[in-house]
């Protein structure tokens, strides 16, 4: 990643223009040729710096107001296999392995589940439990009850989802 890549990241952090040739607009803004912007974006996609170019819906506005952070204690040896399986489910938005903090925090597997209400989230968590089967040693669901702070966050002046 060089200075020009960073300029492209900065220029697209707020989103891609809604015009027929959005990369042309970005190029014009930065004084580059469109082909270079497209090639650099493709390269960042291949390198995994760009996860993908996609639409992120406003899930609250779409009625998905219950967002449960389900946390699981599963054997370390099966985390990877289960992560791949669980991550593929359509109602899962984030799926991570994180450290336990014993004895306070026994959970090592975090799965964000979105639903229109808590009952829907719980039904989905039951489906996760069924997939995990005997590996589900214990689990819990944490709901956010208040947003204390929410800012788009920036790393090196770049906004990240």
């Amino acid at each position: 990643m060089d200075a020009i890549d960073r300029q492209i990241i900065t220029a697209t952090q707020g989103g891609l223009p809604l015009t027929a040739r959005p990369y042309h607009q970005v190029a014009e803004q930065l004084g580059l040729v469109p082909e270079e912007v497209i090639q650099r974006c493709q390269r960042m996609l291949e390198a995994g710096i760009i996860r993908r170019v996609a639409l992120v819906p406003n899930h609250y506005k779409l009625g998905y107001t219950a967002n449960g952070m389900s946390v699981w204690n599963i054997p370390d040896t099966v985390v990877r296999a289960m992560g791949v399986k669980i991550g593929a489910l359509s109602f899962v938005s984030h799926c991570y392995r994180r450290p336990r903090h014993l004895p306070d925090w026994p959970y090592n597997f975090f799965v964000m589940v979105h639903g229109r209400n808590r009952a829907e989230v719980e039904t989905k968590v039951d489906r996760l439990a069924a997939v995990l089967g005997p590996y589900d040693l214990e689990h819990d669901i944490l709901y956010s009850t208040r947003i204390l702070k929410k800012t788009g966050f920036r790393l090196h002046h770049q906004r990240i989802e």
Binding site: M1, T12, Q13, G15, L16, L18, A20, R21, P22, Y23, H24, P34, I38, C41, Q42, M44, G48, I49, I50, R51, R52, A54, L55, V56, N58, Y60, K61, L62, G63, T65, G83, V84, I86, G87, S90, F91, S93, H94, Y96, R97, R98, H101, D104, W105, H114, D140, L142, Y143, S144, R146, I147, L148, K149, K150, T151, F153, R154, L155, H156, I160
Partner: protein, 157 residues
Amino acid sequence: MTENLSDSLALDATDRCIINTLQTGLPICERPYAAAAEQLGITEEGLLSRLSGLRDQGFISRLGPMFHAEKLGGGLTLAAMQVPDDAYEKVSTQVNAYTEVAHNYRRNHIFNMWFVLATETPEEIENVLVSIAEETGYPVFNMPKQEEFFVGLKLEI
């Protein structure tokens, strides 16, 4: 919530199809919307006009490249605290004052404060966590991502 439900009922089948399809991704090419429109069976013009409508009505949080935070060179972590009710407001103010704290949520658990830290370099994470613990007087539990299996919304609406 009733309001949210009626909001989403305002969407027609094409809008829903657009939202569902574009969550998966747009190609990086000269005319990405034309490529997506073809897949959806609508015109490029039609797609662009619907997308601006959806954006203006607040149905779209973002449309563009999604960046991988760690690969951009910064530090990122999730941290949690157990804060007693009578200290909650004060601690919340103290934590939120850090510019490195991007999101902070109250959750219904003994661990009732959960925040995301984003720093310019990975090394700074530890310093900020120590500083928050010292300033608030409560331990901060660092829960960095050790492995990632899926990131991205794919809500079926």
